[in-house]
Symmetry: C2
Amino acid sequence: MEVKVVKHILEANERIASQNRTLFDDKGIVVLNLMGSPGAGKTTLLERTIEALKGSTTMAVIEGDITSSHDAERIAAHSIPAVQINTGGACHLDGNMVRDALAELTLDGIELLVVENVGNLVCPAEFNMGEHHKVMIIATTEGDDKPEKYPLMFQVSQVLLLNKIDLLPHLNFNMERFREEAHKVNPKLTIMPISCTTGEGLEAWFHWLEEKTTGKA
Amino acid sequence: MEVKVVKHILEANERIASQNRTLFDDKGIVVLNLMGSPGAGKTTLLERTIEALKGSTTMAVIEGDITSSHDAERIAAHSIPAVQINTGGACHLDGNMVRDALAELTLDGIELLVVENVGNLVCPAEFNMGEHHKVMIIATTEGDDKPEKYPLMFQVSQVLLLNKIDLLPHLNFNMERFREEAHKVNPKLTIMPISCTTGEGLEAWFHWLEEKTTGKA
């Protein structure tokens, strides 16, 4: 019986996600679902991205957290429209939560909307919200064995941002192994090593975003 | 309707967890539920703990992962009985999964059983498995804002191991803020700063384990 209910929830979610997607396409907004473990650097990446795209791309952000409005406040401090979703316990965002948050945003004129998911390398990978691209961020400090252990997130993502490469000299992280295992799970995954602290590698990420927003990919 | 089903699942889980607990108590085994994000250092902590307790405490380990037997193999290499649970997608262990794994272990003579949960700072906090103590491990690299954002894990844990303190000089981590926020969520939480790389702080953890296993908690 449980399986039926889960299926029902997933189907209902797909329906709402597809309605969200229609809205995004009508408005010409490129939408990213940004996922990763707690502390991988999702909000810091967004802060760096907002600063870099200022003047060229109009952005908005939806922040997903179990509780608190800490992250939305960090984003709003950069003068970007930000809405906080509090899931109240749920470990991922879904189409319905994002739909409710969209009602709080003025979408006209927005070119890029990033939805930062709840910090979790597992469940967010299962739920679409109508986004165009799933982007995962993982820190070098999480270890090079993650693709084998959390494959779904790697499978569903188009881009993997490997953050905190500035800490590599202090870690036992095998970059070759990581790349190999990640591509074993998803041969099409674009891997970008970055550091939100030093800024290294971020140009490639900004370039990718530019391509997607100007091409309305 | 979904809520009813969830309640049903949680109630069924509590019943199985309580049966597990009776078994643990009958056998005189102290059982820990070790939880934390992917890459917080759960398996490495276990490896250090096994080496330190060798000769004084008889240990066994149950490893929880979505897929792969990577972690159980790491543990078994230390000549400790290890069973791998593959959840096949589920983002946490529950009483039933642990009961099935117990059937694969010879429990007589075991003094300490550690169950390493799936890497996730959210859902594992909701499910008991019959353990005596919940222990969470979090890395300094995950940031000092986690107690506010993932409060349940901090609330249900008795011990918090703050790992990777060797990386503090390279991070923007406010230890005072972290301690304060963690104790705001759970004033009784025992916080132990450790480094599984340098070994710093691990004596306090071994001492805590010794107290719990000799006093049978």
